[in-house]
């Protein structure tokens, strides 16, 4: 099995979501029982996905990756960012090292115009380097916070492009889902992340033609990872919130924070319906609630 350091020595693949406008920056990790985002028994490989939305005047980076991918991330961003284009940033999960690991190095390398965040102290939450107040202030100054509610449109660049932040309808910890009308992509953070590969690869896109995911795959993944609590929960409420997202936007790509990208309206609809059906069956009205111990693995 290839190791994480093998992958980290080279920048990962980049997937174009919309030419010149939206890109996925993939960096691969080995699934060997040591990755909390995946089931403990999962074996194979998965991409950590950060995203770059580009306009001539400004680009917006969604997430910053694990620390092991620092150099790869900087190379990928540098390869896409045009000279003179300002970089702004947001992190989808403020408490997750997969989202926040390289915020300061990226800010130091490229400069950050705005750090979109829902709390005023967000910059401090991204600093894993400073050892004293002076260093902390220096690092905070690299990432000026643009305070948002997390449920609004923001302008990207000066050509009229707008990006919508949404409170995530289904979450473990505070996170946002982001919708880009230009690419018709929903950046779904830790949702729809239920896929990995048995072998390393550069193509991390699934289409209706290549997709073999089943409803059982979705259910087992959710219950074996951070959504372990859904069994016997009040999921009908969550389904209504989820429907609100899919009813509001024309979505043709689902771009999760890790796992395969789902490309095409057909596969998007299919995975949304599978998730909805999983939630429906897990509702307390159909599945009795019980105590769920930590690290339950529904693959064994």
């Amino acid at each position: 099995m290839q190791s994480d350091t093998d992958f980290a020595s080279e920048p990962g693949a980049v997937t174009t979501l919309a030419e010149g406008k939206a890109y996925a920056l993939h960096n691969v990790i080995a699934l060997d029982g040591r990755v909390g985002h995946y089931p403990i028994s999962a074996r194979g490989y998965a991409p950590c996905n950060c995203y770059l939305l580009k306009e001539p005047e400004e680009a917006l980076l969604l997430d910053t990756g694990f620390g092991i991918h620092r150099d790869a991330m900087i190379a990928q961003i540098g390869g896409l960012l045009d000279p003179g284009t300002a970089l702004s940033m947001t992190v989808m999960r403020l408490n997750d090292y997969l989202s926040v690991g390289n915020a300061v190095p990226i800010a130091r390398r490229f400069g950050i115009r705005k750090l979109y965040a829902t709390i005023q102290t967000a910059a401090g939450s991204l600093d894993f380097e400073s050892r004293n107040a002076a260093e902390a202030e220096t690092n905070r100054a690299l990432m000026p916070v643009e305070l948002i509610t997390g449920n609004e449109w923001i302008d990207l660049g000066q050509q009229g492009r707008r990006i919508k932040f949404n409170q995530s309808p289904l979450r473990l910890i505070n996170t946002r889902w982001i919708y880009d009308p230009l690419s018709r992509a929903l950046f779904s953070s830790d949702m729809f992340a239920h896929s990995w590969s048995a072998t390393p690869r550069d193509d991390w896109t699934l289409t209706a033609r290549t997709d073999t995911t089943t409803e059982e795959d979705v259910r087992r993944f959710m219950l074996s990872t951070r959504y372990w609590w859904l069994e016997g929960a009040r999921t009908d409420e969550l389904r209504r919130e989820l429907a609100g997202i899919f009813d509001s936007y024309p979505i043709e790509t689902i771009a999760p924070g890790y796992g395969f990208i789902l490309k095409g309206a057909e596969i998007v609809e299919r995975h949304y319906r599978m998730l909805d059906e999983v939630l429906r069956k897990l509702d307390q009205s159909r599945t009795p609630p019980r105590y769920v111990a930590h690290n339950e693995d529904h693959y064994v």
Binding site: I29, G36, Y97, T149, G150, I173, N174, R226, Y291
Partner: protein
Amino acid sequence: MSSLPREIAPGVFWIGDCQIQRVRGKVYHGYNAAFIVCGEDASCLIETGAPKDYPVLSRHIDAVLGDGRRPPLRHLFLTHQETPHAGSLGRLLDRFPEMVLHGDVSDYHLAFPEHAGRLHHMTVGEEIDLGGRRLVTLDSVIRDLRSTLWLFDPAHKVLFPGDGLAYSHFHTEGHCGLMAEECENLDLKDVSAVYAERALFWTKFVDMNIYIREFQRMVDRLGVRVIAPTHGLPVGDIPRTLPAVMEGLLFGAEAEMTAHGDLLQVSAAGQGSS
């Protein structure tokens, strides 16, 4: 109000800092606490606080261990990977090159690859030996990440439950640094609701009675005398305080979702409404 470090059980020191939480027009405080447990041969740090807390944490470690009267810091235990718990991890491993990180150590080799060789993976029922004192891992009854472990000190019956018993407090009421039962005017329902809404979303959709009963069973089975949570004031009088905290947890799980980010609180305050 009391200042930290504070010894809350023999050889168990509460350290760390609060952070401001703006919710429904009020300003709460919440801890991202850490604890030092001293054995005869080694000391163990439990949790590392939020990223911003490194200077405070480092100072507190020096205050507890700096004069050499207590054994050196050789062990670190993290309940789970989220940055309010693991925020100072890299800097602490840099500062204490002999220290080993224990727990479910998923993801840390990816977050801090330079320290990948210092990770000791644990499962439920394993121990950290401090010399004359051991710490035992437990199932995490109330958790968010699946990989969460709790820790227990059998010698003095101290439970370290991470996110279990998460509730805020009020700086303006002098609550900082106090045990829960030392606080006047600590409305556990209100302050528990804050955490449930901001950090424990899942508790609002499950039958929390199941998890509360399991938690009580654990406390009874182990004879817990002190509970040292990461996000709440420590509890030193279990029969008196734990029922109120559990009631608060249940209330928080059922309370209406109203909290938003700081921006809406600022706007609401400016308009004179919450």
